[in-house]
């Protein structure tokens, strides 16, 4: 989830792609086969809509906490943050903090009321006391837009990254990898539904934490468990001295990069509680109390993971040459695998090859689990919000609904494959930052107003969702992310006039403002009966699904 680009043209520097390739592929295949087995088992148990969308609401707090962690810690977060710290030192660590603190908003304000009052999707809560069809449509559109942007970033990253780790340089090879990742993801979701996806995410979380712990332990052994020594070695080896340990190397360039960083920081901290693929995870547990426990577990697991990025990132900076990291991937995305190779005994050694293969397989598992969660969120919203409640006006049997959700998975997965192939050279940066900014601008205001503001109306919800959505997409379109910069999607043209690469600082306040404005100028009276029902049910869990 970091904003690192993964240029598709880089190759693994070590030059020994062949020797670890067999091992990496074996581990990839083993992971895919094991998880597909679990998916088929989960699919047999998936009978009704509650099973498909919410895994039967049968998971424990710990299980869901693990799955949330697996859903949230994307490959870019594992590889990207380690790489950002390895190259920019302290500034890379700033991401870890925003991603973690964001969870408190989910814990204090969103998780429990959402679990109590919703059924399957974010739209259930947004449309609860509003006119169903327009608000469901808006919620479905925004869910799919956020998830697709996030998905695209992961797909583009997956193609480039796996290609990189396997030493594939041909364009056809990269396309093939994007297609394979897409097919596995469709199988997980279409067959296993939420139950299968949850198990994949739990397994991935365990693998990711175990892999990160192992590397952290080995790095700390090298530095006698002395953080100060590690930091000193990193600062020295980076060639940047103590500046490497201070803020500013990446974002302190000029006044605009500083404002851009604040914009990113705001989007990160407010985006998480509006990400549909995270929100639907709260429906997989029986009660709001268990939802709370699962967020607590997630905060513990995600927090521990991000703390270990210090050892990973500074360890890479201390043990690898900066040129080696950059040569392998300009954005530093292969710093963690390279560190694993180095700490296992260096290029050419058996230990190095094994650790590199293990960490690469963990990265691959990470990508698969995250894309599965995103596909599930968008196909659920398509089937439940758009198909059943808007197109069929609520007159569909449960069987038809689950069938629609499964076909939506195939459709959305195919679209993601197509766009992923098309977007494989795009900058992952803009896409992920956009997903967070859109989530914070379009979804969070309506979630909070719906739950806590009595007067909020349908018009307020529509203005806020569409306004936040369009403002954030529009500003990114004219930002340096899309044109006018060497790292842009279209580096050769320049039609940008918006100076920031993250629109959050403008679009998030706008989303809140429009929700308020749309409400106060609307002639409609708020539905106070429905608000009474929502408020009582969301706080007490009365007749929760």
């Amino acid at each position: 989830m970091s904003i690192q680009a993964i240029p598709a043209t880089t190759v693994l520097a070590a030059g020994d792609a062949g020797e670890h390739r067999v091992l990496i592929i074996t581990l990839f295949v083993a992971f895919v086969l094991a998880t597909l087995g679990i998916t088929i088992w989960a699919g047999r148990q998936t009978k009704d809509a509650t099973d498909f969308y919410a895994g039967g609401r049968s998971f424990t707090g710990f299980q869901n906490g693990l799955a949330i962690s697996g859903d949230y810690m994307s490959a870019a977060s594992f590889l990207g943050i380690a790489g950002a710290i390895a190259l920019f030192g302290y500034d890379g660590f700033l991401y870890s903090i925003g991603f973690l603190v964001a969870w408190l908003i989910a814990l204090l304000l969103v998780a429990e009321p959402l679990r109590n009052s919703g059924r399957f999707t974010m739209g259930d809560v947004l449309a609860f006391r509003m006119r169903q069809r327009p608000v469901r449509t808006a919620a479905g559109v925004s869910t799919i837009v956020v998830s697709i942007f996030y998905l695209l970033a992961q797909m583009a990253g997956a193609g480039a990254l796996v290609a990189l780790l396997l030493g594939i340089t041909s364009e056809a090879g990269k396309i093939l990898i994007v297609i394979l990742v897409g097919i596995v993801m469709i199988l997980y979701v279409a067959i296993g539904g939420m139950k299968g996806t949850t198990w994949v995410q739990m397994i991935k979380a365990v693998l990711l934490i175990a892999g990160t712990l192992l590397i952290t332990f080995l790095v700390m052994v090298k530095f006698n468990f002395n953080i100060s020594t590690l930091l000193g070695a990193a600062a020295e080896n980076s060639g940047k001295g103590t500046a490497f340990l201070e803020p500013g190397l990446k974002y302190g360039v000029d006044s605009m990069t500083k404002i851009d960083f604040i914009s990113l920081g705001v989007a990160l901290v407010l985006g998480t509680a509006g990400l549909p693929h995270i929100l639907i995870r709260f429906y997989t547990v029986p009660t709001a109390q268990v939802a709370r426990k699962s967020v607590n577990w997630a905060i513990g697991i995600i927090g521990a993971f991000y703390l270990m990025t210090i050892a990973l990132g500074f360890g890479a900076a201390a043990l690898l040459k900066q040129e080696t990291i950059i040569e392998s991937n300009a954005a530093g995305n292969t710093a963690a695998p390279l560190l694993a190779q180095e700490i296992g005994g260096g290029p050419g050694s058996a230990g190095g090859a094994i650790l590199l293969a293990v960490i690469s397989a963990v990265a691959f598992a990470t990508i698969l689990a995250v894309v599965a969660g995103l596909t599930l969120a968008s196909s659920s919203s398509f089937a439940h919000d758009l198909y059943v409640n808007v197109i069929r006006k609520g007159n569909a049997t449960e069987k038809e609904e689950v069938r629609a959700a499964r076909w939506a998975t195939v459709g959305i997965g195919a679209a993601a494959i197509f766009l992923g192939v098309f977007a494989r050279d795009l900058n992952v940066a803009g896409l992920v930052a956009l997903a967070f900014a859109v989530a914070a601008s379009a979804n969070l205001p309506t979630i909070l107003y719906s739950l806590f503001w009595k007067r909020f109306t349908t018009q307020g919800a529509l203005w806020s969702i569409y306004g936040g959505l369009f403002a954030s997409v529009f500003l990114v379109l004219f930002s340096p992310v899309v044109s006018g910069a060497p790292s842009a999607m279209f580096p050769d043209v320049d039609f940008h006039w918006f100076p920031l690469s993250n629109p959050g600082l403008i679009s998030i306040p706008l989303g809140f403002l429009l929700g308020w404005l749309g409400t106060v100028v609307s002639k409609e009276r708020p539905n106070l009966d429905k608000y009474a029902e929502l408020e009582v049910r969301s706080l007490t869990g009365t007749h929760a699904h």
Binding site: G43, T46, K47, D48, A49, Y90, F93, L94, S96, I97, G98, L100, V101, W103, L104, I105, L107, L108, L109, I227, S228, T229, L231, G232, A235, T242, L245, E246, P247, G248, Y251, K258, F261, I262, G265, Q289, R292, N296, I299, G300, Y306, L307, E398, K399, V402, R403, R406, F452, D529, A532, E533, E535, V536, R537, L539, T540, G541, T542, H543, H545
Partner: protein, 121 residues
């Protein structure tokens, strides 16, 4: 794809509207619900403002107070790193504190109201 399964169980669509509007209006206006709402809002709202402000302070210090943040405290460990780790610590503490508050002050009240309302239907 297994869609030809037996009809679903335990998923009664009428459950959602099991209680009439007047029941919810009455519950919403009751003193015990007002107490529950107050116990949630008076804890969660100020705390949210506080941790967002604390996080923004940290972001602003990182952007505009590089010199201060670079001050070394122990060995190579500087204020920036300590404040960053402090964000982790406060996040863990707030999560723990909220959960303790919820278990002691919110859960008993919400369970009582839920039991009363579900007993009516």
């Amino acid at each position: 794809m297994d869609t030809a399964s037996p009809p679903p169980e335990g998923n009664d669509p009428t459950r959602r509207t099991a209680l009439g509007a007047e029941v919810y209006r009455e519950a919403q206006e009751s003193a015990e619900f007002a107490e529950l709402r107050r116990a949630h809002r008076s804890f969660a709202f100020p705390l949210t403002v506080a941790f967002v402000a604390w996080y923004l302070l940290y972001v602003l210090l990182s952007s505009y107070a590089g010199g201060f943040m670079g001050t070394k405290v122990v060995g190579n460990i500087n204020i920036a790193l300590l404040l960053g780790v402090a964000q982790f610590v406060t996040t863990f503490l707030i999560a723990w504190w909220y959960s303790r508050h919820a278990e002691a002050k919110l859960d008993p009240k919400s369970t009582a109201i839920k039991a009363r309302l579900e007993g009516q239907s």
